[in-house]
Each structure stands twice: as structure tokens, then as C-alpha cells.
Symmetry: C2
Subunit: 314 residues, 2 copies
């Protein structure tokens, strides 16, 4: 479980007096999640998630919270931060930066079908368009600079073939230049477990704490590398991939440059998660209470993207 | 019915492309309401209310929309305006200023009990505290200045006894001074039909288009004069009145000055609605499609407040 900072009901009830959400009726720790301490909080007014930020740099938190607020007021189904009586989203509880956000209903899907992928693609398109009027800036904290940092850190844990593969991919990506691709705030971690569904519709997109400004196409590549995999494999399922891209396209047509950049972007998205999983696996941070994901999965995804150019974007 | 400006599905679907709310799936005119044209709008993303502003002064609209946005992000269950792709709440449709807001679930109550009144009081308290960090200013458009204007306009339609009653009350209110009562944005029209319920909880407070900055106590008086009436009468039911005030008090204790001002405030709230109903009844605006409420009800409410001082606030 991932409750690093315990909060008692008495502490929480007192803290909630800074808000306009009524009185505490229930509080339950959330076991999923690696980075933060999270509680489901129910009050006389509604259902919320309380997050105590354990590791994120304090100066980045306003970017995430105001992005969620921005998207929520554009109709994107994401957690809406609740402002306190001083009109602030970011508070402090038991010595940690803390925020209260709305709790969305729905459950995540393990085996999405093509129609789900199309719905996700359309939501990504809407989220990207809505995000373009967001004025704050934070460079994607898991972008190319971070890849090079992580590669140095994990190097000594890799076998010779893996080192060659990382080096070759970093070299390949360094030769790619995407100055003219549409950019904006991206979620950058919209895996299946970060989308909630109510029947055929997405009722929530959660966990914006890897968001940053990057190519919009990168966000799509992150999704395709998770939502569109062949069952149990690393190759892409053509039907679901086409459906996800068609969903995006129905809201925001791809530019010619995006079409050209697509294979490289899928590789970049695979590299980023291979490196972060290697890092979490070999260099777990002190106090990290959750088992790291196996890095091997994303090594195979990267290998597959390098071996099989993907012609679907159009 | 009150659809002054028709909007076709084709027009609406095109207009919604300015938003991040998905594609139109259904659209239904709303028959209640006097001031504006309203539609229930359903999209692939959610349920909304579209309002075309028919009569409100354009310069007042940002105050209302940003107040709703402010309260919604503080957790108050009120319609949240949706920002368009230019990040604006106020748009234009078929030549009218127009806004899209979230549609809240729940239904209104005709016969509230004491527990409902207590819940309403607590919500008013929370709304008032949340509103105090709202920085925009609009003087209550139906405040004392407007009473005097309306009294002059309807004078010739009143009988002698009514003229004397209006004059006496205007004189009495002119002698009251409340410079030190807590003030802030108030709803100012939170009648039973403007609150939606989901079981014992308020799931929505709607119709903020009479809001303005005034004494918080005035907002409470408006509610008590509607929610706490004896059945079929104009006198106050002591149990429900005490419950509503106890709900307020649990969130924001009344000051001594508020306790002293309470009887006068109940009279002010009764006078305001008597005058507006007289005005709507005798001087309906051209094109007004809804039958005006009978003014006589609020004449009796005012008469009752003058005759029976109310000792319940404490």
C-alpha cells in the first residue's frame, strides 16, 4: 500500500473546515499509486480524493493542479481541484503539500475493444484542444533530458545487449527534430488504469502528476503503446490502433508532419517507460512501498516498434 | 413556455465545436423560467444547460458566470460554466449572449421538512463563506434603489391601503442601516424551485441570475420567507425556521448585529418580492411568455413580518 503519511479522521475533519465541502463522513486510504499518499474522502457534500504529495517538487504542483482545473472547466472529465476558503488549490496537511480533488465515478478497463480506443482517442483530441489555452508551462519532466539522465543511472544494471539498445535508441531519438509538431499540455501517462469508464463512455481521466508540455502526438503514442497492444504481447493490434487514431482525428486532424513523425514517436514513448521502469526497478527510492513494474515489458515494446514500422496514421 | 430564441440541432452542433464537450446527442427546450431561453443539451461527454440571455444587461453576465465558476470550484453544487476553446464562459449564439453550464441532477421539493431546511441553511453558510474570496462586484440589482424605482412604477395600479403599506415599508427600511453586517455575493433568489435534492442532500443550487453583493443575512431572509412558511399561509413555521437558522449557524455563527437586524431583513426580503411581482404583474415586458406570479402572496408575507416580530435567530 502507499499511505506514506497517515491522516486521522480528527485531523482531516479539522483540515476540511478550510473548505466549503461540508463535514467529514468517511475516509479510506487508497492502496494503488506509487508517488503520493491518497485517501477517498466523503463529506456531507460529496466524494473527493485527498492527495498528500510525497515526492513531487513543490514548484511543479501548481502546474498540475491548475491544469486539472483548466481541463475540468472545459468539460474534460478529470478530477477538479477544490479551492479552499483562501481560494487556493494547494494546502498543507501533516507537513505535506496537500490537495482535495473531486472523485470521479467509473472503473478502469483491462481489455479495451476498438470502440473504447476510439472513444479514448476522441477524448485525447478534446483534452489537447482544451489544453491549448492553458498558459502555465512545465517541460515534460520525463522528456529527452530525463531519458539521458536515467540511462546513465541504470547503465551498470544492464547487460551488453540492453546497453546497446538504449544507446542506439537515444542516438536515433537525438537525430529526430520535431520543432513544428503541435504542442501543448499532455497527460503523458494515460495508461488503462488512469481512465475510468461508465459503460461505453470515459467518465474520468486521472493522475495528472506526470503531465507537462510536449508534442500532442507523444501523448497519443503513450496511449497506443498501452491500449492497443496485442493480448499478452508487445506488437500493436491494427484494429484498435486505427480506432484510437480515428478518434483523435475526428476531433483534431493530424498534420503531415505528425504523420511523418509517428513511428519515431511510438519509439520515444516506449523508451521513456522502459527507462523509468528500469530506474524504479534497480534504484527504488527509499521508502517506496510498491513493487516496481517489470521493465522487460517495455523493452519488448520498444524492440517491436523498432522492428515494425507502423503505417496506420493517416 | 419560455423559448424566446429557437436554436436548431444543426446550429447547436456547429456551435458546440467551439467547446471540448463532444458531439451533440440531444437537445430539449426547458419550459420553466422567465428571463432566458434555456435548453437541456446532451453530448457524448455529458449533460449541460444552454442559456441564451434575453434581457439581462450584457455587462452583468460575467459577474454571474464567474460567480458560478468560483462557487463550483469551491465544492458548492451549482452549475459550472464550461469554457470554450478561447477560454471564455460567455459566447454568442443566434445573436444572443449564450453560455453552457453543467446540468445538475436531482429534483426540487415542494414541502420541505425541518431537516431539509437545516441542510439548506448549512449550504447557504458554505456558499457565503466560499463567496467571500470572489473578487468581482455587482451591487444587488434588486436592492433598495430598485425598490424605490419599482414602487414608483407600480404605484398607479395599487389601492390606497397598498400604497400606504409600500410607503410605510420603504420609509421603515430607509431608516435601517446595516453597514457592519457581513456582506458578500448572495444568490438572492434561492426559492424552493431553485434547489435540487438527491434524498436528504442538496445536489444543486441553480439560477444565479439575480445574484449580487449584499448582506449575507438578506440571502437567508429570502430563503426563510419561502422555505419556512406555514402550509398555505404567510406566517413562519417556528420549527423549520429554527432548523434553517441552525444550519447556517453551524457553518458561520451569526454576529450580534445580524441578530438585531433579523426582523428588518425578513421585511426587506418580503418587500423586494412583493414589488417585483407587482411589477411583473402590472407591467409585463413585451414578449414575456410566462404568467406572472400573484403579487398578493408576498403582500401577505410582508404584512405577517410586520405584525409578528420573529425572535428565532440566536
Amino acid at each position: 500500500m502507499s499511505v506514506y503519511t497517515p491522516v486521522s479522521e480528527v485531523e482531516l475533519d479539522g483540515w476540511l473546515r478550510n473548505y466549503s465541502v461540508g463535514r467529514l463522513t468517511a475516509c479510506e486510504p487508497i492502496k494503488a499509486g506509487i508517488e503520493n499518499t491518497n485517501y477517498f474522502v466523503t463529506t456531507t457534500q460529496g466524494r473527493y480524493v485527498l492527495t498528500l504529495f510525497e515526492r513531487l517538487p513543490a514548484e511543479e504542483l501548481p502546474f498540475y493542479l491548475h491544469l486539472m482545473a483548466h481541463l475540468a472547466r472545459h468539460g474534460i472529465p478529470c478530477p477538479a481541484p477544490i479551492a479552499d476558503l483562501s481560494d487556493q488549490y494547494l494546502g498543507s496537511l501533516n507537513g505535506k503539500p496537500a490537495a482535495l480533488v473531486t472523485r470521479l465515478s467509473g472503473g478502469s478497463l483491462e481489455k479495451p475493444e476498438a470502440a473504447h480506443c476510439e472513444e479514448l482517442g476522441a477524448l485525447l483530441g478534446r483534452m489537447h484542444l482544451a489544453g491549448r489555452s492553458y498558459s502555465a508551462y512545465l517541460e515534460n519532466p520525463r522528456g529527452p533530458k530525463w531519458w539521458r539522465f536515467a540511462a546513465r543511472e541504470v547503465r551498470s544494471f544492464l547487460n551488453k545487449k540492453e546497453v546497446e539498445m538504449v544507446d542506439a535508441e537515444l542516438q536515433y531519438q537525438a537525430e529526430q527534430r520535431f520543432p513544428d509538431l503541435p504542442r501543448g499540455p499532455v497527460h503523458a501517462d494515460l495508461f488503462r488504469d488512469n481512465a475510468l469508464w461508465d459503460g461505453p463512455r470515459i467518465s474520468g481521466v486521472v493522475d495528472f502528476y506526470f503531465a507537462g508540455v510536449d508534442c500532442l502526438l507523444y501523448d497519443i503514442a503513450v496511449c497506443v503503446n498501452d491500449w492497443c497492444l496485442e493480448e499478452g504481447g508487445a506488437a500493436l493490434d491494427p484494429g484498435r490502433t486505427r480506432a484510437l487514431l480515428a478518434g483523435c482525428q475526428s476531433v483534431r486532424p493530424f498534420t503531415a508532419l505528425e504523420q511523418a513523425a509517428w513511428p519515431a514517436m511510438l519509439r520515444a514513448a516506449a523508451l521513456r517507460f522502459w527507462l523509468s521502469r528500469l530506474h524504479d526497478f534497480h534504484l527504488p527510492r527509499p521508502g517506496m512501498l510498491v513493487h516496481a513494474h517489470d521493465p522487460e515489458h517495455f523493452r519488448r515494446v520498444l524492440e517491436s516498434r523498432v522492428a515494425v514500422p507502423t503505417p496506420w496514421i493517416a
